[in-house]
Amino acid sequence: MKILVPVKRVIDYNVKPRVKADGTGVDLANVKMSMNPFDEIAVEEALRLREKGAATEVIAVSIGPAKATETLRTALAMGADRAILVQTDEEVEPLAVAKILKGIADAEAPGLVILGKQAIDDDSNQTGQMLAALMDRPQGTFANEVTVEGNHVTVKREVDGGLETVKLALPAIVTTDLRLNQPRYASLPNIMKAKSKPLDTKTPADYGVDTAPRLKTVKVSEPPVRQAGIKVADVDELVAKMKALGIA
């Protein structure tokens, strides 16, 4: 069984994003970029399934600019077998991403597609669910535990009230939540080895997908700033303040 792992190149999670002065977006010039953290968890999970013998090949795919090659090399250094870059300089919305991924899934016939539940730039939380709809296959979103048995995958999901478990016929789509696993670091020898692993380059047109955006970004602005309040000296003063608020 093949596992397809889509990964996105995003602003590094440690960097505080700055809104551009002209309100057209967030300034990404000279900012450290990394693999979306949820996608790193997806790569790790795919590798663990391969190591357990549940999968034979892990294919990483990224849709983005030429620099997304770096993100794919990271996935290859972690242990993915090969990679596909669908190269475009345009911003591609989740719906179009899902359509491209469907094209790749049609060509590769993976048993599982594992991807992050959301990207930390646009915070959409859509791609996996959309891909599942387009492929007409079941989805296990916000995965906390993934078990492959025969032609099924059992997914324990993080939901608002706690956890929920679903059993899905393969092929299926799984999106990762934070506590699914702790992704590995790529070792130096593996980083070197990743450079010679196969990486194909395609375009959205190869999959017949029109990436014209459906949503127009009118503007991007700073969120309202909350002002710091006062500090109290001790518990008695805090109690008095809480009583004044009517909660004690």
Partner: protein, 309 residues
């Protein structure tokens, strides 16, 4: 515009998240609700009483019992022939179903809206709430998830809508619900609690978290939350997590104890009316958003506070 709102429920009662979504839908036009479930006629009756609702569609079928998106999404998509916009609460359930509906309709979803600027123009948070995007849709139909804390709750009574039974396509059985482990708590739910007491990594371990945080929460009849660090460290289960990737809350009072205030956490609670922070580090970022701060040892302060309230 005719809107269709997904009612959040557990087949027995309607969840509050529905009410703020109704408010958002009413801003766009006529409000129809969809109650999909099994044995959920009581929920439909409850939904019909919500102020401002025009009609309730009731799809009562075993296929919808556990809200499996493979079954609910095709039902919603079929009902969208007669509606212009689909709105779901931005809960884990809404987030599971809505994008699947959007793809079936070939439209781009607008996630977690915080504001409505026009019939097709919405504001939504990006980059963990560090920026707010205003987006305009060019799609023929709208698919939207609604951030509950950003809209007032519609009144749960006063309406008298008709309930109409509907049926629709369901999935092909490729997915099966096996079970759930839902937390049972006497405390108020995080997303509807008036007061929340939240603990961070400084609470040391699960036992200490319980000993320090729970008595204060009980005294205030508060919901209990936690930072991602506390959840990752296993002090409390995942459903306690407040933050960009956990629950977004906006109570009257949020008490952050031993929480430094990572961007990720602030994104989930900074719309609270009053924020109280207790932390030993006076430079902790939490104090930059707190209305009332107390610097000191939480293991001394919190028991004293609990005793004096």
């Amino acid at each position: 515009m005719k809107t269709l709102v997904l009612v959040e429920h557990d087949n027995a009662s309607l969840k509050d998240a529905t009410l703020s979504t109704v408010t958002a839908a009413a801003r766009l036009g006529e409000v129809h609700l969809l109650v999909a479930g099994k044995g959920c006629a009581g929920v439909a009756d409850e939904a019909a009483k919500i102020a401002g609702v025009g009609k309730v569609h009731l799809a009562d079928d075993a296929a919808y019992e556990h809200q499996l998106p493979e079954n609910v999404a095709p039902l919603v998509a079929s009902l969208m022939a007669d509606h212009d916009a689909f709105l779901a609460p931005a809960t884990t359930n809404g987030k599971n179903i809505a994008p699947r509906v959007a793809a079936l309709l070939d439209v781009m979803q607008i996630s977690e809206i915080m504001g409505i600027d026009g019939e097709r123009t919405f504001t939504r948070p990006i980059y963990a709430g560090n920026a707010i995007a205003t987006v305009e849709s060019s799609d023929p139909k709208l698919v939207i998830t609604v951030r509950g804390t950003a809209f007032d709750k519609a009144a749960a009574s006063g309406g008298n809508a008709a309930v109409e039974a509907v049926s629709g396509p369901a999935g092909d059985g490729a997915s099966e619900f096996l079970g759930s482990e839902l937390a049972k708590s006497e405390r108020p739910e995080l997303t509807s609690a008036k007061v929340i007491v939240s603990g961070g990594r400084a609470l040391k371990d699960a036992e200490t978290f319980k000993e320090v945080i729970f008595p204060l929460a009980d005294k205030l009849n508060a919901g209990v939350g936690a930072s991602r660090a506390a959840v990752d460290a296993g002090y409390v289960p995942n459903d306690y997590q407040v933050g960009q990737t956990g629950k977004i809350v906006a109570p009257e009072v949020y008490i952050a104890i031993g929480i430094s205030g990572a961007i990720q956490h602030l994104a989930g609670m900074k719309d609270s009316k009053t924020i109280i922070a207790i932390n030993k580090d006076e430079d902790a970022p939490i104090f930059q958003v707190a209305d009332i701060g107390l610097v000191g040892d939480l293991f001394k302060i919190v028991p004293e506070l609990t005793a004096k309230l």
